[in-house]
Amino acid sequence: MTSTVGPIGTTASGRRETAAPDGLRARLARSLRRNGPGYLFLLPWLVGFFGLTLLPTVGSLYLSFTDYDLLNPPRWTGTANYSYAFFEDTRFRSALSVTFHYVLWSVPLKLIVALALAMALDRGVRGISVYRAVFYLPSLLGSSVAVAVLWRQIFGDAGVVNQLIALVGLKGPSWITHPDYALWTLIVLAIWQFGSPMIIFLAGLRQIPQEVHEAAAMDGAGPARRFFRITLPLLAPVIFFNLVLQTIDAFKAFTPAFIVSGGNGSPIDSTLFYSLYLYIEAFANFRMGYAAALAWILLVIISIFTALAFLTSRYWVYYEDEGR
């Protein structure tokens, strides 16, 4: 999934207006003359933001209170969609549980792997840029269809994994189509895409002053102690940043589940991610209104988790420039 980042909101002119008391029209005209080119250059983004982001967002909020199947006009049903999701829909519940399971395992494990590799690379290994590129590669490929297809092959019934297991004389199950293991293959796939948090960790590690480590070593602190007392606390803002981004990403995960499960969350809904369920409701069952409600519920869930992260961050994230 990609996220769009708009240009930083700047006005064309930073100067304060020394407004003479003249008419509104003249002031508007002057303001337009001064800022007009700025807005003109912003126009493509503004059109995109209002036309492609804000308008559909508002539209989906409206649709979430309707029954809409694309063929007939939407019919207002009040909060029926929401109450169905919360009180009746068992598939909604299992989709939530699969997604939470995925987020709670994949995000911490991915961050641990990313941090471990970042620290290994931070040692100043020879050819570090090559390693960096190689380790980053899965992140670029990871959410792509091709890799998900590859995953099917690797963990399939006659895949590479089972061929390795067969070498020691055992017989592995078909990992991706067994309800006990299918979700775990997707978690492994997520962990494998540790590249982008790793790069960010690497940058963060470079920011930690070497003197602090040297001073601690001088005082007799071992590597483990230095890691927990120096690296981790000083890295906290970066960890926090990665945690928030990865959590949001994990909640929205779609492609791997869609491809690996064949688009239906199989087997026994064990890979029915929330966004996959949303897609099925919208484009297989044509319940656009219900799907819109699901989308808004997901938005609220992600907001709550992000807010929680921010609220707790003051207890564990230390910013150097706060001077505490």
Partner: protein
């Protein structure tokens, strides 16, 4: 890089605008009639359909047909989106599952007024024609007939000297006995038959043999808990006896992709299919494959029926209904079109086309028509049209049966769970 001057920039923009204007005008002239035609398919079907449309354009140079084709799973979202945008193509391929829903919602044109004029249906099979009617109005023309079938690996069957019992009267007991006789002679990892307890068509056939239907005329479930329990008991028992692949292997086949079926993967020597897919399956396999009927139950009541494999329909919003109808007529009754389309979409409903096509059929295609000829002696009536929500219930069968086959629920509990959920879906649809 050299910075662009203002004048260079102006030139560039002008050149770009000119180029796009040229590109826009380069298409066929505006004077002619343009139709839009949309279908779902596979590479083979696309090739045949495109060639047929080209032929139509050659015969009628003033009419050109724009084409869109999608895979089955992408087709319905695309079509629904176009309907929502009031932008439906003039000519639409339809499926038996959806045609009633689309007709009820006023998206499809009633073809009745065109019959005898643009539509010349004198040689069209009466049953196939009826299958496109709702409330006496004609909403689609069958593009071919097919039926469900057992597909088996003939090469392996011959090697093992397996003789099939009378195809019009054999029973599930015969089927299971055959499986038990054959299984010990099969190599490790190969099973007698795929386990399709999650397949809607298998289930439909099974309940029809018991005198029921999947859905009643008023859109309710047409079978009882006992029927489903009986079906799943047979299937899970065969799995336990090793006559079918284990559930995690079988679970690879949940997407409808032929290359993931147990037969094609070499995990089973018998599988379940639609008769018109024989040609495609044979293309994927070295061993020879052939079709036979499904086993029967007590009373030998026919469970199978001749199904219109797909329809060709016209959108209600078409601005040129007569031209669209002429094209429809060409696709289903023209012998030259039949020459190209052959029986890829099932056996043509127009007897003249069928007569014309038959001699040129390949050996594989003849196996398919032979099967349908044999089956024609043992088919029941077309079931009532499936209600809204039927597609969702079909999908529900996969996880519901998997709960049973993976041993998470007993057959009774799993079946009860499925019946309840299916009823909920129908209530909500």
């Amino acid at each position: 890089m050299k910075a662009l001057s203002r004048r260079d920039f102006g030139r560039l923009v002008a050149a770009g605008a000119a180029a796009s204007a040229l590109a826009g005008g380069a298409g066929p002239a505006f004077a002619e009639t343009r139709l839009r035609y949309i279908w779902w398919g596979n590479p083979d079907r696309d090739k045949r359909t495109n060639a047929t449309v080209d032929l139509y354009h050659k015969k009628h140079p003033d009419i050109s047909v724009d084409r869109e084709s999608y895979a089955w799973a992408d087709y319905w979202p695309k079509l629904a989106t176009q309907a929502a945008g009031r932008n439906l193509p003039d000519v639409i391929q339809m499926d038996y599952r959806y045609i009633f829903e689309w007709a009820r919602r006023g998206q499809l044109a009633d073809l009745t007024p065109m019959v005898g004029k643009e539509l010349k249906l004198d040689h069209f099979d009466k049953n196939q024609l009826e299958s496109g009617k709702i409330g006496g109005k004609l909403y689609g023309l069958s593009m071919g007939g097919n039926s469900v079938a057992l597909v088996y690996n003939k090469t392996q069957y011959q090697k093992l000297k397996i003789g099939l019992p009378d195809p019009l009267a054999w029973t599930f007991d015969d089927f299971i006995k055959l499986a038990k006789d054959v299984q010990p002679h099969l190599p490790d990892g190969v099973h007698f038959t795929a386990n399709k307890g999650d397949n809607e068509s298998w289930l439909e056939m099974f309940v029809r043999q018991r005198g029921k239907e999947l859905y009643t005329k008023d859109g309710q479930l047409g079978f009882e808990l006992d029927d489903l329990v009986a079906f799943w008991t047979i299937m899970t028992q065969m799995q336990k006896d090793g006559l079918t692949p284990p559930p995690d292997v079988q679970a690879q086949d949940t997407t409808g992709a032929l290359e993931k079926t147990m037969l094609v993967l070499g995990k089973a020597i018998t599988d379940f299919t639609n008769s018109n897919q024989l040609v495609a399956i044979q293309k994927l396999m070295k061993d020879q494959v052939d079709l036979t009927t499904l086993p029967n139950q007590e009373g030998n009541r026919p469970g199978q029926y001749m199904k219109p494999s797909m329809f060709i329909s016209q959108s209600a919003s078409s601005s040129q209904p007569e031209e669209a109808a002429k094209f429809l007529n060409f696709m289903v009754t023209d012998v030259d079109a039949g020459d190209i389309l052959q029986i890829e979409r099932g056996v043509p409903a127009d007897s003249e086309v069928l007569k014309h096509v038959e001699p040129s059929l390949t050996e594989v295609e003849q196996r398919m028509t032979r099967y349908l000829t044999l089956l024609a002696k043992h088919v029941g009536p077309l079931p009532p049209p499936p209600p809204k929500g039927a597609g969702e219930i079909q999908q529900l069968l996969y996880p519901a049966y998997q709960k049973v086959s993976f041993g998470r629920l007993s057959v009774e509990d799993g079946a009860r769970d499925f019946m309840q959920r299916a009823k909920d879906i129908l209530k909500r649809a």
